[in-house]
Amino acid sequence: MEARRQTHYVAVFGTLWGLMEVTLGTALKGLRIPFTGLVMAACATVVILAGRRFARRRGSVVMMGGVAALIKVFSLGGFVIGPVWAIVFEGLLAEIVLTTFGLNRLSSMLTGVVLLGYTTVHPFVAQGVLYGSDIYTIYLEMLRKFAAVLHIADVDLVPVAGVYLACIAIAGSAAGLAGLRLGHDVDRNLRRKRLGERTPC
């Protein structure tokens, strides 16, 4: 019975994640809104953490990611390789964090930060898989060439990276806490509605 219950929690939150990627993700990409990846990663964080409150078994987040990825693969918009891999990797990373630290405020914030941080490097990871490691050599060579042409080779990028990482940390933590809160609120609402269904007026 418990296994069946866990399965349907995985199915519901995986479907929710997949539907969100298919509808919101496609709409944001279509509207050419910047930082779409970060917005989707923040939404995924919320769904994952809310889902983990119900599906507490080890591996449940990976399965949610698998369900969401398959929905995305077979969606009407066709197979877009980048977002599908992003979903799978996000599920895997969130599972590692949540299995290691359990579900609490700190791990929720960490999950958000890790997922948003991963989204930043995802294009490079995905391109590495698709094109091979030579792509990194080419990017580095191009970067050096353009830096030399624009005379920006000596510019210190550490402050820029620091500000960006701080933004990721704040946004990721907020998404993590929102997900934890959503799980809590849904749990309370669910109990109330179940009780309402059982109690005759």
Partner: protein, 190 residues
């Protein structure tokens, strides 16, 4: 189902081992089945951004980076990077077409049933249930979106969005529970 998985696995392996030396037999072996089974899978390549990226990779990169030790029509280029770019082109071509062929040949319910029979049974069950829930959840989400838009303005945007999300997810869980319960009862009757 198994033959499609085997073909995908073979094509992905070929994509990983393709090199300048073996491209003569690897490319036909990897792309030949696609020509025979489903030429429509090649349509995955007809995307402006992808084509532009690949064109720049093969046509542009060797002109800019590396040791430009050869020239064509007086334009110097790096033969080393021509090879590297071509390999990247072959690899991405095989991977994209192979994955597209796989998703075009496989039906979702077939995939769910196959997963249920393997070691990933719990995942298969979750995926099968997800497919059964999908049409209803789509309808629920559309109705919920309309309700969200109607209710906006009565309270703050964040509070309204939070309340709506909580209600929406709760309703989805209740629906899934009911659906699952009815299914169990149906199976018990049978």
């Amino acid at each position: 189902m198994l033959k499609h998985v085997a073909l995908l696995f073979l094509q992905l392996t070929l994509a990983l081992i393709v090199s300048v030396d073996n491209q003569g037999w690897v490319l036909p072996l990897a792309l030949g089945p696609v020509l025979v089974l489903d030429r429509g899978a090649f349509r995955v390549l007809v995307r402006g951004r992808l084509l532009l990226f690949l064109a720049l990779m093969v046509g542009g990169v060797p002109l800019v980076v590396g040791t430009r030790s050869a020239d064509v029509l007086g334009v110097p280029y790096s033969p080393e990077y021509v090879d590297a770019s071509l390999l990247m082109l072959y690899r991405s071509l095989i991977m994209l077409v192979a994955l597209r062929l796989f998703t075009r040949r496989i039906r979702l319910d077939e995939l769910a049933t196959s997963l249920q029979r393997t070691r990933f049974r719990q995942f298969g069950d979750a995926f099968a249930l997800s497919l059964e829930l999908l049409p209803q959840l789509r309808a629920t989400s559309r109705n919920a979106w309309r309700a969200y838009r109607r209710g906006r303005g009565s309270s703050g945007l964040i509070a309204h969005t939070r309340d709506w999300t909580v209600d929406f997810v709760t309703n989805m869980l209740l629906y899934a529970e009911r659906y699952s319960g009815e299914k169990v009862q149906g199976e018990a009757h049978e």
